[in-house]
Assembly symmetry: C2
Homo-oligomer: 368 residues x 2
């Protein structure tokens, strides 16, 4: 599989939903497979909160491949022998696209808290700019889970003719207070972390010990990505063998999992970026800027293929179902699949074999 | 209603499940109504994680009455005109019973992290000592929600002849990893709070600003006490009117609720006590010390009345149902009620009108 990673620098302004402007800005992106001459084999993949443009393939020296490697590759659900797949790092993130720790032109100083709030609408506007820059004015499909699914939906509403298909997974049409509350743990944990220092930490401040606030907030995140059932299966009430049951800080295995999974993350991920992306998720509301959800959804011209997971405790299947019902009533082309799974929200990342064939079928049907 | 608050000092040792000893120790408790001559009108009420012995009535100068005031009082579900109600502050807590900030005899210095881990078994052993001290060797009922329900269950298993009825609400027979994970947020947030200082904070360190770690941990707690549905109804996607939507730290109403409800708590509740009580909840497993859950449950001689709440996202109704099925198979006297509610775990505190009549009936039947 041919993989390329690029960063494109835009000197033209990106007009944000807030009324503010990002100028200049950069977008880091990765591509898999080859763009055909007609430029009609493009699939845009959108990442979630903690993801990046590195969706597939294995970098040299890395132990883990891209976050959706099980889905994207030669002969896989999204077949890179046929399609040219593009995945960009969203603006506001910390993996190469412009975010709060990028220099605020013309100074060399990072924006930090002066970075403008970005929204899902802004993220897809930036992606649209990038695709235009690559000479791509139409894509076969936009695929994404969680925040990636929000982007797919927003894309279909804001740019109705742009995609033939959108495939949003494990997502919603408007973020519920339940999700905002989980994010609030991270927001408060980060803000109250003295080493966060109101955003004035040194760029390498967390390289070694990690950011405590982010680690704590991420525990809440991981709860919401799993489910009571998946935790029963993964951990049960197992206790870490070397810890005494009556030691105050002795740990159950679920606790060790949380420690392990958040420690590394809090060294790698930028806490300011986390705050900004969480804000984008919280403010996501497909109907904002339109008269109603119905008004927004009615604009969609793409075929909408919704995939939810029965055991998702973050974005519940009911939310996708609500959208499916609206599409049905409107007579808009769509399909809805609720995948049997008790894995929780993470299913869209880890149980790819439960839905990759659905995505393959959607794309193949298109090719006739 | 006659309310009395007392603290009893015990010089005899309390033998703990860990093998350690608490000696001396104190138990603070409150009573409502009057003990009759036969001493056969006693109801023991057990509190949850953040509760105290102050279950009912209004103290002078207080704005809010005791935490179960809707249930306990003259003519109420637990009728203090007929019953003598006792509620003790659990050991490990911070409202007058011996806990980690109590002096470690013979020194005047607080135990802090030298305080022994206490379990639900230890909490009820201490309560049993107190009741013995009051000349009470049998009670009509033991009632409690959440951690209070754990105590009721453990009481019935450990002291089979002691209660005629137990009424555990919104609880479980063994804490699942889902709950341990929510608690983990608090454990890590507190431990990583520099002002917590590994437990060496001054006794009044958090009186003014509160303990950040505890406040953050408590947000995760409040998520688990509510439900997606109750949050939709309470907050929706409402935004705090004075905050700009595109301000990074502008807040949704659910966020303001979390700030408000955790700020005061983090000033009042002792973070070390929180860690110890959370540990007691995490280690709760009715079958520990017995061959199996079935073995433990088979010991129960009390009538078991289980009350769960359909919308409880912390202790799911399935858990109580599992216990009810076991009691049924064993032919043990019991009843099981699943209350229709989408309020979440908090329903046992705030929707008392949905179950007070059940408790009244259970107690009246007994008086026949």
């Amino acid at each position: 599989m041919k993989i390329e990673t690029h960063t494109t620098h835009f000197t033209s302004p990106l007009y944000l939903e807030s009324g503010r402007i990002l100028e200049p800005y950069e977008i880091r992106y990765e591509t898999y497979g080859e763009l055909n001459e007609a430029k009609d084999n493009v699939i845009l993949v959108c990442h979630a909160l903690s993801g990046s443009h590195h969706a597939a393939g294995l970098y040299e020296g890395e132990r883990k491949p891209g976050w959706w490697d099980a889905l994207i590759g030669p002969g896989k659900g999204i077949d890179t022998d046929r399609y040219f797949v593009v995945c960009t790092n969203v603006i506001g993130s910390c993996f190469g696209s412009t975010g709060p720790m990028s220099p605020q032109y013309p100074s060399e100083e990072p924006y930090r808290l002066k970075f403008p709030v970005v929204t899902i609408k802004d993220m897809i506007r930036a992606q649209r700019q990038l695709l235009s820059h690559l000479g791509i004015h139409h894509v076969k499909a936009i695929v994404g889970g969680s925040m990636g699914g929000m982007q797919a939906l927003q894309f279909a509403v804001d740019y109705p003719g742009f995609a033939d298909h959108i495939i949003p997974l494990a997502t919603t049409y408007a973020t519920r207070p339940w999700v905002i509350a989980f994010n609030k743990v991270a927001v408060e944990a980060i803000r109250r972390d003295p080493r966060f220092d109101n955003g004035n930490y040194a760029p390498d401040a967390f390289k070694e010990h990690g950011c405590d606030g982010l680690a704590v907030g991420r525990i809440a995140g991981h709860i919401s990505y799993l489910s009571p059932q998946s935790m029963d299966r993964k951990f049960g009430r197992n206790y870490v063998a070397t810890d005494g049951l009556f030691e105050l800080f002795g740990r159950y295995e679920v606790e060790r999992y949380m420690e392990y999974n958040t420690a590394n993350f809090s060294r790698i991920f930028d806490p300011l970026s986390y705050l900004y992306i969480v804000k984008a998720i919280n403010t996501f509301n497909l109907s904002r800027g339109y008269d109603s959800l119905h008004d927004a959804v009615s604009r969609i011209r793409a075929q909408v293929h919704l995939i939810s997971f029965a055991g998702d405790y973050l974005f519940f299947p009911e939310e996708m179902e609500h959208l499916a019902k609206m599409l049905r009533r409107n007579g808009q082309a769509h399909s809805y699949h609720e995948i049997e799974s008790d894995y929780g929200h993470d299913a869209f990342l880890v149980e790819v074999d439960k839905f990759d064939f659905i995505i393959r079928e959607i794309l193949e049907e298109e090719c006739g």
